[in-house]
Symmetry: D2
Subunit: 310 residues, 4 copies
């Protein structure tokens, strides 16, 4: 990659300026104090290329609560631990067409969550790990650190505690899954792991690095480590595209056209297969729970680089 | 009431013979061992008249788990404790048109359970008591004893523990109610009271006596005590008719035509306003969760006495 | 019935005065012009006793569009034509717990409407008649005239045409029933009969008279004609109580405690078994589609006469 | 494209052999006779490259009923006729998470269909055309012929008539849309156009050619004609991926990873942006309504060419 032609920094700065214009029109997640007090004008973006080069703008090195982005890491780990066949018997691969934390669908589909990225599905995936190892949180943290190629990634325990206190809807889902026979570990244990995985703190640069194997056929270019097969990377990318943005996947694919996973902390991780892993962060959310400025930034990136997968 | 003309004993014996014919076609509740091991061929029936006379047949003095029949006692107590206006803000008075433990309806109606006899509504009613007194179980037990005019009614703690262990669906409902802001006490506390109220053990004679005030304008004829106003008795009777038999209220009204409340322990308590309170018990249930032989016995009683309210 | 003690006229006048106070707080049905232009301040009430005496107040002899009240007449006729067993295979007897014209329930319950008084159920009942006779409207009109003991009851063809023009939701229901195999006649034919039955014009006095057999064990006291068995009368009364007021049955039973059937024309017909048939009419509706002043009048009547069935 | 390296014919023949193995495990659509009598062992496949070369195997030149594949053509035409902004106000872009002809979702989302490929959405799109031109069928047929670069594409009128006769569920949806205010033309007219668009007969080669502009940035390589902008092509591709296979989009993206649209006639059209348009046809369907052998063939094609978009 030559210095000139492919330096994305000016592009990212340009995108930041443009995307920041939507700040003020969204709503910071306020269901727990630790999220509510994040300044609404933060914006960071990091792009990691499969050749290892990195480009950043704004608050790309500030840590934020990755929240549901963690579901991708848990899924990867669970697939590794219990195998593809066993896991996909317990959770589907279809978009939900419903709010991400709906109990209705779970009840009408008798305990088989539609996909691993709605809360019900993520709880089942977390259960797969929890039932398999004595220290599921350490196993997950170890995995995330290896993906991100950084050893000091940590869990924000204040956020985790806060999530637990305000997590009655997740507790309802977990108890319903237990009643439906799709939870093996104890409800309390699964919830405890779940709240802590959501409370992992990472920067845009960390997340983009950790998603790089999905863009690079399963390999982490920074370490040369082979973390998954090319087929698994492709398949996770397909799940990101069809299920990664709650009830906004269709619009996101239409406007942006890149596989991505969002979290209510305001982060969005995205993958352009064969080229880049991206993470953008800005705390204000749209009504579906996806970062407003983050979505805009990814739309601009896809348009300007003409790198939509379609 | 003269000895001859009004002695219902031969009628009840006749009804028992007839109703027992349906034993073998239902299914004893088996979600907890303590219920599953009740012999399926038990049958008891007690009729208490507003003049104080009583008629029984079969196992009318054997104790069984009253289960959801307890929801009527809790409702009466909650109405007394928090008042009609306050309680009916938190729970509706409409039949559910759905399975009794459905979460779908609760979610789509934003935390306002349809009526006090579905599980969600009963949990809200139990919460009203739990949040009001330091010893809700004692308060409830005291109330039931006064209604039944018998001091040694007890809670079967084995059943209560068993319910708690297998109560993940109720826990899901309670957590969802909490998330929706319609539960004041702690989820664990409400569930603990709820499981114990369901585990109250009473005989047909006890239950029929305890329901007698609903037939007698609010007065307990055995003690002369005025337990509620005539208007409240009428209103509770109306709730029994429209909401007392899960998703079978319409058919029960059509076939039997008497306000009634069933429990999965196989008991059904019924009220013929101005005349009788009745309790019949037989453990085998139909597919909606109502006692099969019990329903048949009440149908025969209503037809032979021509005492349907319609 | 002595002249003095039982002359209900002063009571009805008193009730009218009181019930009229709620006029101004409701909304006249405006989905078709013919209903929208009925003056909102009309109020009539008629009470027919099983001994043949009649009491009226207000606009008790003005004709109004009976709308869904007609579903009771169609049900009676269909039961007569195809028999109880055959009809109840095609329509249930449970309250719907849903808006009266919901397609959701119909779809999830595979074409078996919950009861004969929601639109889907009424269409199936109408189909039963339509598929049985070459002139279903004449058959129905003949039946209504016999019940009301009056030969000049007619159909308001303007209303019927208007209903047809604005009836896309009913057409949707009928086509869905056809797709689900629960409609035998042609969709167009069933709808045509349905719209015309809803457009029958009757006065409060007519409707009260026509409902009198339900209060009098199946006999029309005015003519001495036996129109149905006592059992059928009881059973229809039970259906009125559990399913007669859309999604307001529970509250109506709680407040009023009398079997009744309402129509969006503002009429409510009610039955006090063994005593009275009543019809009240006032065009303004509450949010569930039941006459506001009409409900109030029936509540007052039940309270003052202490004639709730509970 | 050199003769050797890129001749896909051997690959396609190989795929046909493999895919045919799944024949016998599915079910031919039998809701209308004209579809039911298509021999179940038919299999055809055509691949058109953006450079104009074409490769085929099996029954690639036999005509079949394209059914829902037509929805892509209607969408393109409607976007052209009424513009993007106007059309997307009336129909969403999210996967449905429900059976393709569900009325439930339509009702709960007040007349805004989730996407243009479920029946409700397709009816709204058809309405957009029907309300705009006096001869919507001719306009659509003209458009399809231009896309396919072939003038003798026709409508199988027997199929259209048959669809109309058995189309009560679609009629229900159309009437509901009308009641909800999201249909401008007359219900009968919209349905008539809809049934005829579904009855268009085309071969695999025709369909692949007609989809080629979606792979070629909007241009038809065979004629050089520019049929839409590159952005519109990208966006339609994204809709195919997230909404093109009923309730099977997630699994299809996971297994195959190519934007595609299926029809109950057994056809599937697919697009590999920048490379190929593909059509495969085999009448046996899986339980979701997608061609069984067709899905398998596309999965093999994507795997062997490594051309998944992920």
């Amino acid at each position: 990659m030559s210095n000139n032609a492919n330096d994305l920094t000016p592009l990212l700065e340009n995108i930041e300026t443009e995307a920041r214009k939507s700040i003020g029109r969204g709503k910071v997640a306020d269901y727990i104090p630790a999220l509510a007090r994040v300044p609404r004008d933060r914006f960071g973006m990091a792009v990691c290329a499969v050749d290892g080069t990195e480009f950043v703008t704004g608050d790309a090195d500030s840590c934020f609560s990755i929240q549901s982005i963690s579901k991708v890491f848990t899924l990867e780990l669970a697939l590794k631990m219990v195998g593809s066949a066993a896991l996909w018997k317990r959770v589907g691969r279809e978009p939900s067409g419903n709010a991400f934390n709906s109990l209705v669908q779970l009840e009408s589909e008798q305990g088989l969550p539609r996909n691993p990225f709605i809360n019900a599905g993520a709880l089942v995936v977390t259960d797969a790990i929890t039932a398999r190892t004595v220290s599921p949180v350490l196993a997950l943290l170890g995995s995330v650190r290896r993906y991100a190629a950084r050893q000091d990634i940590y869990i924000d325990e204040e956020v985790a505690r806060s999530e637990a206190e305000h997590g009655h809807r997740n507790a309802a889902i977990a108890h319903l899954l237990k009643a439906q026979g799709n939870l093996n570990a104890k409800v309390e244990d699964v919830l405890s792991v779940y709240y802590r995985q959501c409370a992992i703190a990472m920067s845009c640069r960390d997340v983009a690095r950790a998603f790089l194997p999905l863009a690079a056929g399963g390999r982490q270019p920074r370490t040369g480590e082979k973390l998954m097969t090319p087929l698994r990377a492709k398949r996770i990318n397909s799940l990101l595209l069809t299920c990664g943005l709650y009830d906004g996947v269709g619009n996101f694919a239409f406007r942006v056209g890149i596989p991505a996973k969002s979290g209510v902390g305001g982060g969005i991780a995205a993958v352009i297969p064969g080229k880049y892993a991206i993470c953008v962060w800005s705390p204000e959310l749209d009504e579906l729970g996806n970062s407003l400025a983050g979505t805009r930034a990814l739309e601009l990136f896809a348009r300007k680089t003409r790198l939509s997968i379609f």
